[in-house]
């Protein structure tokens, strides 16, 4: 039972354009959502997060949007850069589960120069 879904395994975007990565979840008890970026042969690095009491969080070129009614979150990267090419994982946490995270399957982003 995949509670966190990233339905697009890959995405290709031109440098300078916007990248939009999507994530859907099924469990309404999730209250904290995170995005991680992973380069090959490295561990995931934390990128940005959002609490369920907010609908938007911004950090430089990265913005995360949360639509609780649709159980959907998205990561916007503007403008996209070749160094953003990586696999992006969304993750969710239930308050009752402590710090345990449930991860999506990842989306591979390729930013073309």
């Amino acid at each position: 039972d995949q509670q966190v879904k990233q339905n697009s395994p890959s995405l290709s975007v031109q440098e300078g354009r916007i990248s939009i990565l999507n994530c859907d979840y099924t469990n309404s008890m999730f209250d904290y959502f995170l995005w991680y970026k992973k380069y090959p042969a490295e561990g995931p690095t934390f990128l940005i997060s959002i609490s369920s009491i907010k609908d938007k969080n911004e950090d430089g070129r990265f913005t995360v949007f949360l639509n609780k009614s649709a159980k959907h979150l998205s990561l916007h990267i503007v403008p996209s850069q070749p160094g953003d090419s990586a696999v992006y994982f969304c993750a969710s946490r239930k308050k009752s589960s402590g710090d345990k995270l449930t991860f999506g399957t990842g989306t591979r982003l390729a930013v073309r120069p």
């Binding site: 395994p9 904290y32 042969a41 561990g43 994982f89 402590g98 710090d99 449930t102």
Partner: protein, 113 residues
């Protein structure tokens, strides 16, 4: 910066061997986690620990055990390695608190022959 160190980047073992993967974090984090990452499956939680000598099963604990004798060190043990345990293994740690991300090591690529 949080530093999570996994003892080996690459490891090759034989079927039936007992395998130890070690993880050390330097930030006095209470929580430590072991995941495996497989193509198309994302990160799946094997075991986690909220304190010394405490452990809890994650989503896929079969064939694995863990040990946490000191706060900074969390070991993953493959009791009798099998070929379906060939994978990328990732260790993470986090501090207990509201909305704190997990921090990952660079992973161990384990091959079971």
């Amino acid at each position: 910066d949080v530093k999570v160190t996994q003892s080996s980047r690459y490891l090759v073992k034989r079927t039936g061997e007992k395998v130890f993967l070690e993880c050390v974090q330097d930030m006095d984090h209470e929580n430590m986690f072991w995941y495996r990452q497989d193509p198309g499956l994302g990160l799946r939680l094997i075991y986690f620990s909220y304190d010394v000598k405490m452990k809890e099963k994650g989503d896929i604990p079969e064939g694995y055990s863990v040990s946490r004798e000191k706060k900074e060190r969390f070991s993953l043990i493959l009791e009798s390695a099998s070929t379906n345990q060939t994978s990328m293994y990732l260790c993470a740690s986090s501090v207990t608190g509201i909305n704190q991300p997990q921090h990952f090591g660079d992973g161990t690529r384990l091959s079971i022959l």
